[in-house]
Amino acid sequence: MEAKQKTIDIIKQTRKAAPEAFEARKLYLKMRKAIAEALKDEPKTIPQVAEATNIPIGEATYYMMAMLKFGELSVNGIDDMDEYYFYELKKA
């Protein structure tokens, strides 16, 4: 088991992570933090989150759908016009 846990150290001797992977991670963390902040008090639709965070709405959609997939957000109903769903932070 000890040897298994060190396989990451073995690959790191010959390979480095791509800078683009770190950039993508950094961006996701930034977006996630902003989205979580916007949703901390009440559920919001994607346009409401985009407005509250100044994240371009297309990017807000992409990252909120990723957070939904990763189990960080959940759906909380739809607006009166049946156009936009409300999303909230998933309760632990």
């Binding site: 846990q5 985009a50 959609t61 759908m65 769903y85």
Partner: protein, 437 residues
Amino acid sequence: MEIQQETCINESLYDVLVIGAGIAGEESALKLADMGYRVLLVEKEPSIGGKMILLSKVFPTLDCAACITTPKVSETARHPNITILTLTEVEEIVRDTKNRFSVTLKKKPRYVVEKDCTGCQECEKACPAIVNDQFQFNLTARKAVYIPFTIANPRVALIDIDNCLLCGACEKACPSNCIDFTQKEEQLKITAKSVIVSTGFKLFDPIQIERYGFGRYKNVITSMQMERQLAPTRPFNNILRPSDGKVPDKIAYVFCAGSRDHTVGNPICSQVCCMYSTKQAQLLMGALPMADVSLYYINIRAFGKGFDEFYEQAKDMGAKYVKGKIASITEKENGNLILRYEDIATGKVTEKEHDLVVLSVGILANPGITRVFKKERLETDALNYIRQTDLLQSPAITSIEGVFAAGTATAPMDIPDTIMSAGAAATETSSYLARLS
């Protein structure tokens, strides 16, 4: 019944090498394996199942695609006469002196010990790296360590090493200690008495047609992206516009996007777009009862059994079929899209606003496999599909003796025709093997 573990190639002589584990490859492999032949099924993706396993439903029956394909996938994976290699590509095929094929394979590392992975996804939860999910056609993200999709087979994680941060979080989180960063690319040598090419098709990339705005306008999506949105394992919680998460209510389909179009090098009909768009229209009207669905077409080709009735059913449900080729698509500030087209019924150039546009993308040949045959030439036709040298009497026969073709490697076709083609390839192969012995 013994489950075939893909890392265990104990024997190097097979009766048949099947290249490509989509529905055609699986069907051919199963038929031959049931006859007692030993089959090696090679797939370049991390899961078998091809494109069908990603579909929502099938036309014209509206049966659940996963419900049809997963039993076949499972049967293939568990068949004692079939050995499966995923993440594996064929590098070279040469006929040897015994009239058999000497095959060189390249197997990419999964960085996960397949027999130990339980598919628990604890590694995914721990992974901090995110990247576009290619199995959701980039509509959402996935982790760098991931299971391709819920019904993947094998349901085993893999690490996308190009996007991995090399943080080791997955290795710490894995309860079965199956992460193994020491895995290397392997070269395997096998011998096969015969080969079936079932490498499928490529989807047309509509970015080539600038006037449709795909890649520039987020609400112009492909039919495969809509297919994923309609599937139970969808990328979003419902059918939504990628630009802002709005539930669409005026949806347009643009037929023949990359088919019957000399300007993009694909002058032929893709056979399936009219019907899969009609299927999607019916599913959309079921999922979004208030939605208007308009389908812009050149000609409707509803040639198969039950197809015309299926088309009429869509019209009865409220789908609007508009005869007219789309000249251009432009985007409004709110993300809605203006379609400009000549309405053939009135002869007038008309504009119409929609909030989501789906491009019914066509099928293209996938001829890359022809390059692996050395000393002999696997011939293709004018459109780069595998040439069928005796199309009418023996459609699976190719220009190389002992090499057969199945499914959309030979031409665009729908799922039932693919199954029949795969059956024909299996029959020709068994006949060839009987002659050999």
